[in-house]
């Protein structure tokens, strides 16, 4: 029998230095020549859940208060919750150390497999973004973390801006898994002039902890 393996929709050309097996995924912790930023990290293996219920008011998820207003996000002990609309919340597990399993209630759906998920962080990332979308990341009115549902490189995405301050700026983006290949290509292409390089998960973990 073949050994069972989970494969990410994201394939980087750069060669891995350190990888780690996790729940049948081969997670790359570090790549050769990651450069000094900006960085692009594949997080497609991180659990993601859809929470939909007409009555979210009194609900908690992973012990955290769900954001009330659509467009707002909360990041607590590794769980990123973003309010999509009146009845829907999008949950990302950005911690990923001890793997989170989905709560049993029927209003949860595991959507980890539905999307490709990447983090784009480091200097000048918003100059990369403005080549790919008309969404306004630098709007002074909006305080990080905040949440967009809108087009990025022509396809609908969920995008959470976790930080807008210079070197530590960063976003986490998901779009339909099927678009993975082309989405990565267009982000790397747009980032070329700014030295954007694929990086391993450690780089991301280090960044997210620093926030």
């Amino acid at each position: 029998m073949k050994e069972i393996q989970r494969i990410s929709p994201v394939v980087f050309k750069s060669s891995p230095l350190k990888t780690e097996k996790r729940d049948n995924w081969d997670v790359v912790m570090e790549y050769k020549e990651e450069g000094d930023g900006p960085f692009l990290v594949d997080l497609s293996h991180r659990p993601r859940f859809d929470l939909q219920d007409s009555n979210l008011a009194d609900k908690k998820s992973f012990e955290l208060e769900l954001p009330e207003t659509p467009g707002n996000s909360v990041l607590e002990n590794g769980i990123l919750a973003s309010r999509m609309n009146r009845t829907q919340v999008s949950l990302f597990d950005l911690d990923g150390q001890d793997d989170v399993s989905m709560p049993g209630e029927s209003y949860y759906t595991d959507v980890t497999e539905s999307t490709v998920c990447v983090a784009l962080f480091g200097k000048e990332i918003f100059l990369i973004c403005e080549k790919l979308t008309a969404l306004d990341f630098t709007d002074p009115q909006r305080k990080a973390p905040f949440f967009f549902q809108g087009p990025f490189s022509h396809v609908p995405c969920q995008i959470v801006t976790l930080n807008k301050e210079g070197e530590s700026s960063g976003i986490v983006l998901t779009c339909s898994r099927g678009y993975g290949r082309d989405m990565i290509d267009s982000i790397l292409h747009a980032g070329e002039e700014f030295g954007l390089k694929p990086a391993g998960e450690s780089r991301f973990t280090h960044w997210i902890k620093s926030l």
Partner: protein, 96 residues
Amino acid sequence: MALTITCPICGKRNGYEFKFGGEEKGPRPDEKDLTPEAWCEYVHMNKCVAGVQEEWWFHKDGCGSWFKIHRDTTTNLEKEVKDENRVQKAKSGGQK
């Protein structure tokens, strides 16, 4: 012309993120003794207003909600219409 649509959930956005869903015509009529004329009126016929009309839009590339706006078809600009429950909707995240 640059259309922008104000989504009750995502706010003012590029109009190309949305899909137009027709003139506001009210709920689906009852099936019982619906004449071909009445059916056709509901399904196909439009007023084609040159001016402000109430209409449906879907946030295709965004939050995926259906909502109504008032738009001037001669300028493609949204019109603010006093509508308390629209404000309400916005607060509670619009109708789904």
